[in-house]
Each structure stands twice: as structure tokens, then as C-alpha cells.
Subunit: 695 residues, 2 copies
């Protein structure tokens, strides 16, 4: 990947003397900051922008490390072949007209890939805007030169964007208003070869990058992505397009990429330590905050220094809402604040500095309050509010940052004010690596993201790969049961071989046999009719609950037999007492491989899908982390005098299920629904195994 | 109120020649745009800023309609008395140092109020920044003249802000960046007399105001506020500070206002049609969208016209997430679009115009796509994305708006781009009354707010006042039960008099009596020990569930008798079959009066407080609307083959409870928990009435 980011020479295939053409813009962009050798390639010209122009890359005498292609799509395979002959191993195809335009383009794309593979060429693109390195002033892209005419702010965030036009528009917008400094911006387009994992892997090792923000419409190598994120020492923030049904349809036709199950993806990614963003600018503000804040203390006890009591109050509301803490100032801090403020103002958090403005002047009020609070051992975060352009300016950010660093405190800013003063202030904050936000909620939200990121990164590795050998008992059940959808008896037999606790049950051939079994496992019992292909047993009247006597049992047996018309078999099981129901399962995802699911079941699942996923196999700590991640985790902690969920047992169920999923790739899906909890212990009451359809 | 907004003459008590003093700034601000008579009042000068200055208002010869006071707090009562003698009936006290500084200030504030009442003076403030009318260029405020030096954008939104400093900072910020046009901005401070209801009532009738945005830390006259909102023909958007514990503490010390129970307030306000905002700028963007969009069609079928496939995809995601609909374009529109776009691009929603840029040019692509889509009968909303400052500009907003109005379509814009181009574009959008947003999520969120607002305003009046006479049977129970906290038997006796269905039950004196009653109401039954003051019956072992036989019953009776040690009495009740549990209640709120609560009970209430409130008395439609407002309403619609909740019966319970609450102000609180649902029918199984503590 290094060659893509710092090639010693570049050929522009499709260079043009026309300034407003894409080929002309690439050339102009290269000449703006790139100091290596530039070779325009175009058979129609002998010179472009004072540079000698070549008919093909093969005519260039020196070595060429990188080629950027911007010619009509149908001509690209031949250009690639030419690159191969010239010995160019790295190519960016910025032309459009490939997989994104449908079948014809998809075939063309495949031809390109074949040519590239044969010539040992790596391809970036097609249908992309290439890459930009702002500190180095490299613009390997056709984006309009106007973008950097306003001045680009360099920073330590790198971005990866799948959508082309967006990356350009977005850069322009960032530079215009928001003072988010950028290191590298990569537009990866159709990613027919180089994908997000390649670029991410490079950026995670890049010295100029402190955090990576990605806008993606698909993740091709899901498992690899999770592993990179899990190991990453830098924050990764992801905005994923194509979650909705309609959105997903558009994603398919846009960059011809598959958008998977959003709930599964979000859950896996967040488990791997990826921060999920909601919108473009929000993603950049979150990334900046994560990059600048680094690790936060566990508590995030936050002190608010404000010019407005109202903003202070709202900040408190938001901080508590986000699960952070409003700091309780220590006595010595209060004493020091009392010296600055009028007698009547109680020195407490939030610190409303406005009343001190009249007495001391605004700058002195900020200085005094800041210096008092920054030393407070009960304060982890200082949330400063500024109001610029009306009164004197606060050019203290450098000093504030130094003091905060010295004391090991986190600094975060909210600013409102007049246009030009705002811009100056935001630039100053960016230069001093202090996150600054124009909206209160955004600032607090970013702090919460940073706190969650820290918490996640404290836990050890959670994502594993590994092969498991299928246990012999399970293997024999698997080879015996050849159906696509298994009945619950066979399904639980398989689960049992992996140590998953299941309800006591037995197939009963007659009413007489049933009474013997029922006495063994004790009343009350349940009878279920298992008929091949009949998944909805309850709705078909094939479940008799709460059988408390032999008489009941006989009647129910007779009733079931009649309903089943001689097909299938009858299962007798213990009627479990229930405190609440969970749902556990596994699913084989195309991008992410086998994944284990955990969530609330029963009546809860009627209201909200409170489920989380982890890639199999799971370690015990991954399983425990998964259990902690459902929204309804409060329920598991015991309520109304009930026992809390036995975490060890529950984690075992998940680990074992993960092992089964890893060992047996023939299984497409498993549902344990419900997994009943009684006195804190889980028992699988109903289950379905779905084998991969053969064919 | 009219005098406050357009007085013919103004005295400034505390005027000063010092430019940077508050008194000096008020004078300068008045002279900037106010054309009426201005009288500086200050005993130390005979002339200020070329105007004759008076020692007291009584020395002014002509009539004075409004006085603005900006002198040290202790001198204010005398100044008010002087105003009274002069016949001034409207005063704005902008000085601080009143209730917000504690007890001493509170007493001073009370003295001022007494003087004002005696002299028939209305007071605005104290501790406020007065008011601003941007179209009229009236600045009755000490805010810094820098604020309007950048040029103020007039618009049709008025704001009411409790916090002083905030209103100024906020105005400056709005003007600087966001192009939100303002009509009137009112800072009401400690609101010792004039409060948010007075100002809101005026603004709801104000011809220059299309929507009202409020930042409040307390609502003094809650019921009045609800009534105003319920009747309002204009959108009201509210940001409430002081929700958190810490926040509430700060609110108390900040403007010495009480911040009530946030869940109750939010629920009541939203029932009354108030839109609840989350943050300052968000509030203004939401208000602007509501003001500009007006009513939305029920479906909000949205077409997206974008320059970026990625932004189109994300828009779809957000639209579906917010419960709106992505439009399915009609065949004729698709046909028209096909003429503009390259062959390979499927003409569908979202409409990605970028591929047409190269063919037709950007402006032609926008025009063509817009004109095709705006006529589509399957489209209600056009969500246009713009990218300004790089290529040619789109100066079509006026034409777009006219076409949209002609076709009865809603227009909403998202724009990114270069700084100056952005500003120009946003101003143009503001002038054409099209809401424009810098973040995608914000734009979609505003559309969703507009859609909910429309929906709410379609329902008739929901907030009622009224007196009810207490039913004689209820009155006799109320006078017989003198305890503060009632036991469930008495509580349900009272509820029964108001037609609330309760479980069959009877006090039983002996085990023998119990067996007779149990046979009457049929097994299974429940025995409960009622002991005075013992609220947690289950935890104290005073509940025996699931008694299925006479033997069980006798044993349980004996057991309970032993536990109760001769105190209290034993209640036998029918064991109800349960599908799910609700919780219903009433609470008497200080600001909002008696309110009825409705929500999910049982295990759900362990996870989330899914409860909503309505002010009593309730009409049947209010009750039904309330039931529809819980998040878990899906549960009530019937699930897994269960009957949906009987809306008529359920609404009756709420209406009757509201009538009881309205009729009897002696009751502080009622809990019906659980209200059990079986086969869609509600039955109160346990209940507690709490009477107001005497003294």
C-alpha cells in the first residue's frame, strides 16, 4: 500500500490539456503539491501543461511506480495491459462505467481484474476519486482544484469514503466551516481489488493518522475488518450507508455492493471497538474528539465552565442523559472559586462565570475559574463554553491545553458567537488539539463516545478466529439428520452434545409410555406433536401445556394423535417454571461468517429486537461482554428479589454454541427460543437447527 | 402586552453616557432603530448622547409608556414607586440581583412585586435582557451592539428565552452562521410577573410570528401553557433545561425556578402539541422547518434528488428510521428522468444526478430532475441535496419553491460546500422560506417533526379544564377513610364508585368464611394480608398466590394470620389470568394540576419507564390518544394470536380516573398497579390511594 501513498513517479493515463476535464484536473492537482515525476499519457498530445506527453506508458523511459487511469471505461483493460508490460504494479482507476452501471460494466470490471491479476497489478477503484494527503499536499484525484483554494486544514484524522462525489463535497465542506483537520482522504469506489480493509490496515500503522473515519456501503471482508478493529490502537469511526430496505436497494445499484443485516453488522462492529456514527459531519466531529481526547478516565466526572447559566443546566441534563457524571467540586476548589465570584453566587458545578465578568472582566474570570477547577482531583473533564466575537477574545487555549495535559484532564469546548471570531477560535482549538463543537449535544455526545471507546479498549481481545473439530457425538447426529429444518427433539439432541442445558424430554410412543415418563420427570408436563416441516407448533394446536395429571395426559395424548393424523411423533417434556425468556442463536453471515446471537425473548421480543451478535468462536470474556451489551441487561441482574442470571452458565451456553457453529459450517442457523431462565439458570426449551440447503 | 412590543415612549432608568455600561448600551440600542420618544433617566447627568436626561421619571413632562430599569437592585423598588407616581404601567427590569442570588434577593423581588401591584404596574424581568424586534429594529436590551453589526436576518420565528446571557450569545450565533431569521426575541429572566404564558399568548396572535421557540427552565402556569399550546394555530417548540438531578439543582439556583418531573412535563407538553427540542441550534432548525413547512401530507412520501449516491442512500436510511416513507416514483416520472440520465442509470428514488452532470451540466440536471419529480402524484416531499461553491451555482431556489407551492409539495434542503457560497445559499433559502440544513440527519429529523406536528394538529382539542362534583358514594368512602396511604381494599372500593373494573374480592374474617367466598368466586384464589402502613406486601410474605383447593386455602389463611400477629385483615381475591400488565395512576402536579398516567407495567417497568401523562379531566379522545402514545403500543394491538386491548374499556378507565382526580383534590396520588389485561379487558388487581397529608 505504501506505493499508493508515496510513489516516486506517477503516470496519468488520460491526461488532458483541457482545464475543466477530469484528466486536466488530475494533472493540475498533481502539480500543485506532488514533487515526484509526473508523466501525462495521451496519444493526442506531445506536451500537456509544459510536461512531455506520452502515447502510452510503455513510451516512458524511466520507471513508473503508480498509474492513475481516467479514460473511458472500455479502454481501461488495454491500458492495464500496457501498465503490466511497463512493469507498473500499482494503479488507481478513477474512471466510472464499471460494476456500478450494471451487468455490462460488471463484466468489464472482471476483465480488468483478470488483466491485473495476470500482470501482478494491484488496483484501487474504479469509479473513485483516488486519494489526498493533506500534510504532503498530494492530490491523486480529479476533484476540483477549488477545494483546496480555500486552504486545507491539516490534521491527524484520515478518512476512507466509498462514495466518490461525497468525498470531494465533504472535504470542501469540512474545510469551509468546521475546522476538522485531515491527514489522508481515500476514495475507494467499487473496490474491485483494494478494499476498506487494505486501506484501514495501512492507516492504522500510519504515523500521520491518529484516528480513521470511514463511510462505507458494504464491508467485503467482514471478519478481517473485525480483527483489524479489535487489534487497533487507534479509534475507528464508521458511518454505514444502506441500512434501510430502500437504502439497501440503492446501495446495490450505486456501488454494486451488498449491504448486510444492519443489526448484525452494527453489533459485531461495536463489539470489535468500532464507533458507529450517524451522519457525515457527526462522524467527523466524533472522530476528531476520539483522536484528540485519547483515553478518558472511567468516570468522566465533568466540570462545566460556562458564560450562561442556561447552557450550564442543559449541559448537566445531557451529561447525565449520556450516562456520564457531573463532577462534585472539592471544597478547596469551591474556596478558590469564591474568591473570584460575587458573594451571592454559590461556587458549584456548573460554574457560571457571567456574574464574574462584570467584576473581573471575562478573561480573568475564565482564567481564575479554569485554574481553580483544572487541579481538582474530583474533576476528570473540563467542558468549557465560549462566546466569541462580542467582548474580548480568549486566546488562552494553548495555556488551557497545557495545564489540562499537565493535570491529566480532558478538555472539550463548546463555542457560539460571531462568524469570523468563530472561525479563528475553531482553528486555534484545532491547532491545540482540543475538540471544539458548535452544538452542546454534539460535544457531550462526543465525550460519551470517547468514554465508551476507552471502556471498550480496556477489555482484552474479543474477536477470535479458529477452527474446531466437530465432536464425534455431534458429527453422528449431523450425519443422521439430513433434513433442512430439524425438529426440536433432534435440534436439542445436537445442542446437548455441546453441553447446552436442555429441558428434560423424551419421545413417547403411547399414552402408557407417556404416563411412565411423566411420573419419572414429574408433573406438570408438556406434550408436543412433532410433524415434519411443521415449524409453528403452537399455532397448529400441536402443543399441550400444563398437564398436571395422568388423566389430563391421556386425554392430551389422544387429542394430539388425532390432530397429527398418524404423522410424526409425540414429545413429552418437563413444564419449566419461567422467570423470563431469552433467545439465543447462531447465523452464518456472508461477510462475517458464523455469528452467535444473544437477546431478550418472549413478550419483550414483541416490542423491540434487543439482540446482539458476536463472531464465533467466542472466548468466555467475549460471551460475557455480549451478555452485558443488551439494552435490557437490567433484567438479567435480578429484579423483585429474583436471582441474577448465572453469568458463568450463560457464557458457557454462548461459547459452546459458538464452538458448534465454528466446527460445523454445514449449519446455516440455530434458534434456541426460548432459552428459559429460572432461578438464574438457563435451559433450552425449544430449538431449531437449520442445515444448509444442499444444491 | 402590546405596549411592551410597541411603546410610543420609553424611559431608560439608569441610562449612562459610558458606552460600555449596560445603561449606555440600552440607550445606544434604542437609538439604533426605535423611532419613538426616548428619555434617559439618571440624576447625575442633564444630557446623555445628546438627549436631555432626567433625575427621575416624574420629571419627564410627556407621557411615558414603558420604563426599562437598569440600576442596582436595591434601588429598584423606589424607581418602581416613582414609575407608579408618573403613571407608567409597563416596566422591564433588566437589573440582576433578585431571586437568583438567594434569600436576600428573593425578598427584594417580593418588595418590587408589592410596589408594582399597588401601582398597577406590570413587570417584565428582572434579571433579563428585555426584548428585540428584528423587523422593526427595536432593541429594548443591554445586549452588546456588536450583535447586530453583522447584520440581523429578519424572519418569522419568535423566541422566548429564560436565560439572559444565552439569548444574546444565541442571537449572535444564529446571525453568524445559520441564517435562521428571527422576528422577536424575548428574554424573560426571573419572570416575577410577566411569564412565558403571557409572552406566548401574545406571540401566538402576532402577525409577524409564524412559530415560537422557547428555552425555559420552568413553566410556572403549567395548565395555562398546555391550553395555549393545545389551541395554538402555530408550531411551538420547547427546549427545557433542568431535567437531570444536577441540572435541576442548577436551575433552582440559577433563575430560582422549579424544574418539575421531566417525564411528566414532556409527556403533557407533547400531548398538547408542543414539539420538544434537544439543543439550542437544533431547536431553531426545528422551529424554522415547522414554520416554513406548515402542514405536511400524512405520508411524507419523500423523493431525494442528490449529487451523491452515498448521501442518497443515507437519506433513505434516515427517512425509514424516522418512520417516514421513501417515495416510489411513478412510471411517467421515471420516463421523464430517463431522458436526462445516461442509459445505464436506473431512474429511481433516490435520484442520483451526478451522472447527468457530465452530460447536461449540473444546473440542467437539477432543473430536469426537479421538474420531473415535483409533478409526481406519488411524491409529497422533495428533499434536495446541494453542493455549492465548486461548480456553477444553483440560483433556482425561487423557481423551485414556486413550483413546489404550485404542486402542493414540501421542499427541504441539505447543503454542503464552500464557506461563502454556503452563506449565500442559506440566505437565499431563508428568503424563499425553504428550510435548509447543513446535516442530513437534522434535515430528516425536522421533516419527521413536521409530520408529527401535522398529525397532532389534525386531532381535535385534547386538553380540558373543568370541575366535577364528587359522586356521593365516593365522597362517603373518602370521608370514612382518613388514612394518608390506603390499603388496596379501600382503594379499589373508591375506584369502583367511578366505574373502574376491579378484581372480585372480599375481606374474610375466618378460614371458614374464606372457603365460602372462594367457592363463590371460584378457585384459584389469592389471599393477601392487609396491615396498616405495610405497602410492600409481597416482600413481607403477605401474599399467597395460586390457591387451588380448600386445603391450600386453610393452610394459607393460618399462615397469614400467624405472620400478621393479629393486626390488620385478610383479603381474598380471584386469581386473575394475566396476558400482560399495565400501570395506571394519577398524580397531582404542582404546575400542571391533576394528571392521569398510563403505561406498561410488570416486567416491562423493570426495563424502561414507558409511561405517558395527560391532564385531568380527559375526554375519551384524549384517553385514546394517550393509549396510543406509549412506545410499547405494539403490545396492545394483540400479539401471538391474543386479543387487542379493548380501547373503549381502557379509555373509560382513564376518563373515570381523571374525573375522580378532578372531583377530589384531596387525593395526591393513585396507583393502579397492576392493571391486568386478559382477553383485551382491563381489571385493577392492586391499587393504592394516597390522600394529601393534612398540615
Amino acid at each position: 500500500m505504501k506505493t499508493y501513498f508515496s510513489p516516486s513517479s506517477i503516470a496519468v493515463i488520460g491526461a488532458s490539456p483541457r482545464e475543466d476535464s477530469l484528466g486536466g484536473q488530475i494533472l493540475a492537482n498533481l502539480r500543485y503539491g506532488y514533487a515526484g515525476l509526473i508523466y501525462p499519457v495521451n496519444p493526442n498530445y506531445s506536451e500537456i501543461q509544459t510536461l512531455p506527453c506520452y502515447a502510452t506508458v510503455e513510451n516512458i523511459s524511466g520507471p513508473v511506480e503508480l498509474a492513475i487511469i481516467i479514460i473511458p471505461a472500455p479502454a481501461v483493460p488495454e491500458a492495464l495491459a500496457s501498465c503490466g508490460r511497463k512493469g507498473i504494479r500499482r494503479v488507481i482507476i478513477e474512471s466510472a462505467g464499471f460494476a456500478e452501471i450494471g451487468e455490462k460494466g460488471r463484466l468489464l470490471q472482471e476483465r480488468c481484474l483478470a488483466v491485473a491479476r495476470a500482470a501482478d497489478i494491484r488496483i484501487w477503484g474504479p469509479n473513485c476519486m483516488g486519494l489526498v494527503d493533506i500534510p504532503k499536499k498530494f492530490f491523486f484525484t480529479f476533484m476540483h482544484p477549488n477545494i483546496y483554494k480555500d486552504g486545507l486544514i491539516e490534521g491527524r484524522i484520515s478518512m476512507v469514503v466509498q462514495s466518490g462525489m461525497l468525498s470531494a463535497g465533504f472535504l470542501a465542506d469540512l474545510m469551509s466551516e468546521r475546522a476538522v483537520g485531515i491527514a489522508k482522504a481515500c476514495s475507494i469506489g467499487n473496490k474491485m481489488d483494494i478494499d476498506e480493509c487494505d486501506v484501514l490496515e495501512y492507516l492504522l500503522e500510519d504515523d500521520e493518522t491518529d484516528a480513521v473515519a470511514l463511510y462505507l456501503e458494504s464491508i467485503v471482508r467482514g471478519r478481517k475488518f473485525l480483527e483489524l478493529a479489535d487489534r487497533a490502537k487507534k479509534p475507528i469511526v464508521l458511518l454505514k450507508g444502506g441500512k434501510s430496505r430502500t437504502g439497501a436497494k440503492a446501495a446495490l445499484s450505486h456501488t454494486s455492493s451488498l449491504a448486510g443485516n444492519a443489526r448484525l453488522q452494527d453489533s459485531l462492529l461495536s463489539l470489535a471497538g468500532v464507533t458507529i456514527a450517524r451522519d457525515f459531519q457527526q462522524m467527523m466531529e466524533v472522530t476528531r474528539a476520539l483522536a484528540m481526547i485519547g483515553r478518558t478516565p472511567a468516570n468522566c466526572r465533568t466540570a462545566i465552565l460556562t458564560f450562561s447559566g442556561g447552557a450550564g443546566i442543559l449541559s448537566c441534563d445531557m451529561i447525565e442523559q449520556q450516562g456520564l457524571r457531573v463532577a462534585e467540586l472539592s471544597a478547596s476548589t469551591k474556596k478558590e472559586l469564591a474568591l473570584i465570584f460575587p458573594d451571592w453566587l454559590p461556587a458549584s458545578n456548573p460554574v457560571d462565570m457571567f456574574p464574574a465578568f462584570a467584576v473581573k472582566g471575562a478573561v480573568a474570570a475564565y482564567d481564575g475559574a479554569f485554574n481553580a477547577v483544572v487541579k481538582d482531583p474530583r474533576v476528570d473533564v473540563l467542558f468549557l463554553h465560549f462566546f466569541v466575537g462580542l467582548y474580548s477574545t480568549y486566546d488562552r487555549l494553548k495555556l488551557f491545553k497545557e495545564a489540562a495535559d499537565r493535570e491529566g484532564k480532558v478538555l472539550i469546548l463548546w463555542v457560539i458567537g460571531r462568524r469570523d471570531a468563530l472561525r479563528t477560535f475553531k482553528r486555534e482549538a484545532q491547532e491545540n488539539a482540543i475538540p471544539v463543537h458548535g452544538e452542546l449535544f454534539r460535544a457531550v455526545e462526543c465525550l460519551a463516545y470517547a468514554s465508551r471507546y476507552t471502556l471498550r479498549k480496556k477489555t482484552p481481545q474479543l474477536i477470535f478466529t479458529g477452527k474446531h473439530k466437530l465432536l464425534p457425538k455431534a458429527a453422528s447426529i449431523l450425519s443422521a439428520c439430513t433434513e433442512h429444518i430439524w425438529d426440536e427433539f433432534d435440534s436439542k439432541r445436537l445442542l446437548k452434545t455441546y453441553g447446552i442445558p436442555t429441558v428434560e424430554e423424551k419421545i413417547v410412543e403411547s399414552a402408557f409410555a407417556a404416563t411412565i415418563v411423566a411420573r419419572e420427570i414429574r408433573f406438570p408436563v408438556v406434550l408436543k406433536g412433532l410433524v415434519h416441516g411443521q415449524v409453528h407448533k403452537t399455532e397448529s394446536g400441536l402443543v399441550c401445556l400444563n398437564i398436571t395429571s395422568v388423566a389430563d395426559l391421556k386425554a392430551s395424548f389422544a387429542d394430539l394423535t388425532r390432530r397429527m393424523k398418524g404423522k410424526g411423533q409425540i414429545l413429552l417434556q418437563q413444564q419449566m417454571p419461567i422467570e423470563y425468556e431469552l433467545i439465543v442463536g447462531m447465523v452464518h453471515d456472508e461477510q462475517f461468517g458464523p455469528c452467535v446471537m444473544f437477546g431478550l425473548g418472549g413478550i419483550f421480543s414483541e416490542l423491540q429486537k434487543d439482540v446482539v451478535f458476536a463472531p464465533a468462536p467466542l472466548s468466555t470474556s467475549t460471551a460475557k461482554e455480549l451478555i452485558r451489551r443488551i439494552s435490557g441487561k437490567k433484567l438479567l441482574q435480578g429484579f423483585r428479589g429474583r436471582k441474577p442470571l448465572d453469568m458463568k452458565l450463560m457464557a458457557e451456553v454462548l461459547v459452546n454454541l459458538g464452538n458448534l457453529a465454528t466446527a460445523c459450517l454445514d449449519i446455516e442457523q440455530i434458534d434456541i427460543n426460548p432459552l428459559v431462565i429460572y432461578q438464574g439458570k438457563p435451559i433450552a426449551v425449544d430449538a431449531t437447527v437449520i442445515k444448509k440447503a444442499v444444491g
